[in-house]
Structure formats: structure tokens, C-alpha cells
């Protein structure tokens, strides 16, 4: 209990002092996970919409793969990405091993299945007659899909929150791909792991509370946006 209280105090002290190591790790966490989530949303929402609204050969197989992807172990993703980014790997020329770009790629593969899968479920559960109604009002298929995404915004935003939550809190893939370079690829989760391994529990707790604070603030903001109602 003392350690936890000490951690809260440490977190406040480090924030008050604008501790550069903590700030760097927090900023790196936000940048890497934010970029990975944004990429997952840009690609995952349209793909999830397609899977949710259309019927095509191989759709069930694709959904099974997506659902499997939602449970991918981060270290397995990290391993694959490292192999690809390794100097002799298929993407070795990019020179992204031990960089934030490499971490974004790894986190993207963790967030995207969640965004695709939950978006597909959200769109699949929209009223089929509503889609027909929109088409009958003159909507093109794209317009109808966009309006259905907007109608399903509660669940689609839920998919975004879940995707972001999955990557901001993961450690395995980021550690393996980013190499935990201080001031660059060290993010809050990898910093917590490091501090804990050194026995610096107070420092680890401080970082943990900052991580929890960031997750709470961002998910709260998204939740408020999600629950906002139109004019009454």
C-alpha cells in the first residue's frame, strides 16, 4: 500500500517537475499509439463497413481471421514485425527497426483487427431496411455506408476506444520493435517494465498512474463524444 501511495506521490511530483524522462515517455506513448490507432481507423472502419454490410465469398473466413487478430499476442506481432524490419528482412531497407515508425506498424497490427471486427459487428447490426431506405432516398452506396457509420457511431467509437486501449497498454511488441531507446522509443509501458526490473517500484508506479491518467482522459473524451445526443 505504501508503494502505491508513494507511486501516486511520485507521479504528481514528476508531473509537477515536468520530469523530462516521464514527459518523453508519455509523448512517445501518445504519438505512437495515436498514429497506430489513426491508421487502424482509416483502414479498419471502411474495411469493417465492407465486411459488415456486404456478402462475398470468403467473408466468414475473413471474419474468423479478424476475430483471431483481436486476440493476437503482442510478442508474436512484435516477432513478425522485427523479422520484416531486420536489416536483412523484407522491409529492412526502410531502416525502421528500433524506431517509432516500426512501433507504429507493430501497434497497427494489434489495433486494426479490433477496429475492423467491432466496426463490422456494429454495421452488421444496423437495420437492413434502413440501408434500403437510404438507397430509396437517392443515396449512392458510399453515401448510404457513410450514413450508416454515422448512425452506428456509438459502436464505431467503441471500436476506436477498444483499439486505442489495446495498443496504449501493450508492451511486448513495442519493446521488441522499438528497443526501448531512452528519449525516443521508450514509451510508458516499456519504461514501467524497465523501472520494475530495476526494483524502482515508486518510479514504476508513478509512470503507471500517468499511463492510467492518459487512458482515462482520452477514453473519457471519446466517451463524451460518443454519448453526445443531437439537438433535443
Amino acid at each position: 500500500m505504501d508503494l502505491i501511495l508513494q507511486g501516486i506521490g511520485g507521479a504528481l511530483a514528476k508531473l509537477a517537475a515536468l520530469d523530462p524522462d516521464v514527459l518523453d515517455a508519455a509523448v512517445a506513448s501518445l504519438v505512437v499509439s495515436g498514429a497506430a490507432t489513426a491508421l487502424a481507423v482509416v483502414t479498419g472502419v471502411p474495411l469493417g463497413t465492407l465486411v459488415g454490410l456486404t456478402r462475398f465469398r470468403g467473408r466468414r473466413l475473413l471474419l474468423s481471421l479478424v476475430n483471431t487478430g483481436m486476440g493476437l499476442p503482442p510478442v508474436v506481432v512484435g516477432l513478425f514485425v522485427v523479422v520484416f524490419l531486420w536489416r536483412s528482412g523484407a522491409l529492412g531497407d526502410l531502416d525502421w527497426y528500433c524506431t517509432r515508425q516500426g512501433m507504429v506498424i507493430a501497434q497497427y497490427f494489434l489495433a486494426a483487427p479490433t477496429v475492423i471486427g467491432l466496426t463490422a459487428i456494429a454495421l452488421q447490426n444496423t437495420d437492413p431496411l434502413l440501408r434500403m431506405q437510404l438507397l430509396s432516398l437517392g443515396a449512392s452506396r458510399w453515401q448510404a455506408a457513410w450514413l450508416l457509420i454515422r448512425e452506428s457511431r456509438l459502436l464505431v467509437l467503441g471500436a476506436v476506444i477498444a483499439g486505442f486501449g489495446a495498443v496504449i497498454s501493450e508492451v511486448g511488441a513495442s519493446q521488441m520493435v522499438g528497443c526501448n531507446v531512452k528519449g525516443d522509443t521508450r514509451i510508458l509501458t516499456t519504461a514501467i517494465t524497465l523501472e520494475t526490473s530495476k526494483g524502482e517500484f515508486g518510479s514504476a508506479f508513478a509512470l503507471a498512474f500517468i499511463l492510467l491518467g492518459i487512458i482515462f482522459v482520452l477514453t473519457a473524451l471519446t466517451t463524451f463524444a460518443q454519448q453526445r445526443r443531437p439537438v433535443a
Binding site: L130, S136, L137, G138, S140, Q143, R150, A232
Partner: protein, 355 residues
């Protein structure tokens, strides 16, 4: 305006409705009438190209090649209002927004249609806060705002309670008259069809079986199933005794019935159809020009709404309707004798279905 030939409407891979021939005339109001599950909604969705179709569908003389472009000329109102989670005004203007109409014009036209449907005062409200009747009015306003050339109504009143339905039907009838918009309405309710339609198409078991004026469909149903559905409760097997230019004499059990309609060609055993409302009940034989008058025993008396249904035995079973007031004034009771009379011009003959 819209011509369908051998039109088949599919749901998935399954053919669920068929119309051998359906011509929609500009400005007319056509009702597709049929029991639940008959395929009338699928047929109307096929006419609106919202489900896969086979056969031929022509709009203003030309085959429909670009379904998106055709759908921008028509509008569909469904059983449920299917409004978006936005304000009433935005919902009413949605079709216009999808056509790229600017906000000012969109809002003006939406407000005008909302006012016409009696929900103008709700324009700023959230659609989620509307009652069922209000929401359906907004849905109709949304369809009319795009000024459709054909309006398809798929049982738009069936989810509403009776008083709400009655006022909405009256208002819609007025609006459709004012606008003169060509309308195809799906309903299983005969009264709705009669309130709004110039012509009626009867859909049964996935097939458009009869299309004609209300008088033709209700007076001369094309087959016994249609007869039963449109309320012709007396469909009685008969035998042709004699047919002249003026009268056809039929034998039913031990009774003779005379009617003006000639028998179906080559069919000596047709079915005699008489609407219960066309039979007059009296205590004593009435002195009238009616050629058919039978003494009958009252087997059963059943109150139905504002009428009483009489099941009679006059050598053959016959069903008649009288007002509840007449039943009271005549003091009708089970097992008593009455006289059932109908004119020779009233019955309609159907060919017997042979299996």
C-alpha cells in the same frame, strides 16, 4: 409510366413475388392488397429496384438500366419510419441533402412538407423524441420533399394504433390528392385500399392475381381465394340448369338461384359469389323486384364491430350482414325463420378450381 412484364422479385436467391403484367398510369393511386406474407412488399421493393429482380421493368417507355438514377425519381415509405438520429428537419431534408441541395432550400422544402403533414412545429425536435404517428408523418414528409415521380408506400400505417392510423390516412389522402403524385401502396387492409386507391391489385401466394378497379376486384374477384380475402364470404358450388341471353338459372342443393351473369365458358359447375352485405334480411317475404328469395333458419348470430353476422341455412349455407341496430329492431334470434333476398344482378360466378 411504369410497366412490369413477368417481373420477379427476389429475396436473396429465392423468387418471392411475380407480376405477369402491371402497368402504372401517371397520377393514379394503386393499392397492392393481400394477406401477410403474400409477397406484396417484395413486389413493391422490386418495382422500386430495391431488391434483385428478373423480367422486364420499363420506366416512361425505356428499360431501367441505371437503377441509381431511377431510384432518384421515386421515393419509398416503409412500415417503420426509419428516421436517422438527427433533428426532424434534417430527416425531412435528407433526400434533398443526398441530391446536393443547399441547406437553405433544403430546410425550406423540408419545413413546407412537414407543415403539410401537420408536424411543422416539431422541426427542431430530435427524431428520437417523436411518437410513432409523428415519426411516420416525418417519414412521409421526407419522401414527398424530394418531389418523387412515383411514391411507394409499404404498409405505412400498420404499426400505428387505430385513431392515429385513421387521421394519418385521411391526411395522406388529402396530400396525395393535392400533389397528384403517382402512388403504389401496399396494404393488407381493405378499407385502407379503398380510402386511397383508384385501382387495386391483389397479391396472393407471391403472385399478382388480379388488377382492376375497386368495383371489379370487390365485385368480381378472379378466384375463390381472392373472393374470400376481399370479403365475399359466400362462395357456393352451383350447377348450371339453364342459361339464356337474360338469365342464368343455377341449382344449389334443392334451391334455384337466378342471376344475370352468364356462366363461365364450358363450366356447368361454377362457384356463386355473393357479398354478405348484398343480402337483405326480412321477417316476411318482401314484395320487391329481387328474383331470389329464400326462407332461412338462423344458425348463428355473431356481432362484428358495428354489424351482426348471420349464418343462415336456406337449404345451403348463406352468410349475411345486418347492422346491429337492425338485428335489435328485428329481434333476431337463433333458430328463428327469416327471409333472405338478393337481386339477380348481385352474384358473381367463378369457374370451379379443379385439381
Amino acid at each position: 409510366m411504369l410497366e412490369a412484364r413477368d417481373l420477379i422479385a427476389y429475396r436473396g436467391d429465392r423468387a418471392v413475388a411475380h407480376a405477369a403484367r402491371l402497368d402504372l398510369v401517371e397520377g393514379e393511386h394503386l393499392a397492392l392488397l393481400g394477406p401477410n406474407g403474400a409477397g406484396k412488399s417484395s413486389l413493391v421493393l422490386g418495382l422500386a429496384t430495391l431488391v434483385r429482380t428478373g423480367g422486364e421493368l420499363r420506366y416512361r417507355g425505356a428499360p431501367i438500366v441505371d437503377a441509381d438514377s431511377y431510384r432518384r425519381k421515386v421515393a419509398v415509405v416503409f412500415q417503420r419510419p426509419l428516421l436517422l438520429d438527427r433533428s426532424v428537419r434534417e430527416n425531412a431534408g435528407l433526400g434533398l441533402a443526398l441530391r446536393g441541395v443547399g441547406r437553405r432550400e433544403r430546410d425550406a422544402r423540408a419545413d413546407s412538407e412537414l407543415a403539410r403533414l401537420g408536424v411543422g412545429h416539431l422541426a427542431d425536435r430530435s427524431a428520437a423524441a417523436l411518437s410513432g404517428g409523428e415519426a411516420q408523418r416525418v417519414s412521409i414528409a421526407r419522401a414527398l420533399a424530394i418531389d418523387p415521380e412515383i411514391l411507394f408506400l409499404d404498409e405505412p400505417f400498420s404499426a400505428l394504433d387505430a385513431p392515429t392510423r385513421e387521421t394519418l390516412i385521411a391526411d395522406l389522402a388529402r396530400v396525395l390528392r393535392e400533389r397528384g403524385v403517382t402512388t403504389v401502396m401496399v396494404t393488407h387492409d381493405r378499407d385502407e385500399a379503398l380510402s386511397l386507391a383508384d385501382r387495386i391489385g391483389v397479391v396472393m401466394k407471391g403472385e399478382l392475381r388480379q388488377l382492376g378497379t375497386a368495383e371489379a376486384v370487390f365485385g368480381m374477384p378472379a378466384d375463390p381465394e381472392i373472393a374470400a380475402f376481399v370479403g365475399v364470404e359466400n362462395v357456393i358450388p352451383a350447377r348450371v340448369e339453364r342459361a339464356t341471353d337474360e338469365l342464368t338459372s343455377l341449382r344449389i342443393a334443392d334451391q334455384r338461384v337466378e342471376i344475370t351473369e352468364p356462366p363461365p365458358p364450358g363450366d356447368d359447375f361454377p362457384l356463386l359469389c355473393i357479398r354478405p352485405d348484398d343480402i337483405v334480411i326480412s321477417r316476411t317475404p318482401a314484395s320487391t323486384s329481387a328474383r331470389n328469395s329464400f326462407t332461412a333458419r338462423i344458425v348463428r348470430l355473431e356481432p362484428i364491430g358495428r354489424r351482426t353476422r348471420l349464418v343462415l341455412d336456406c337449404g345451403f349455407p348463406l352468410i349475411a350482414h345486418v347492422t346491429r341496430q337492425s338485428a335489435r329492431e328485428m329481434d333476431l334470434r337463433v333458430d328463428e325463420r327469416v327471409v333472405a333476398t338478393f337481386k339477380a344482378t348481385v352474384p358473381h360466378l367463378l369457374p370451379r378450381i379443379r385439381h
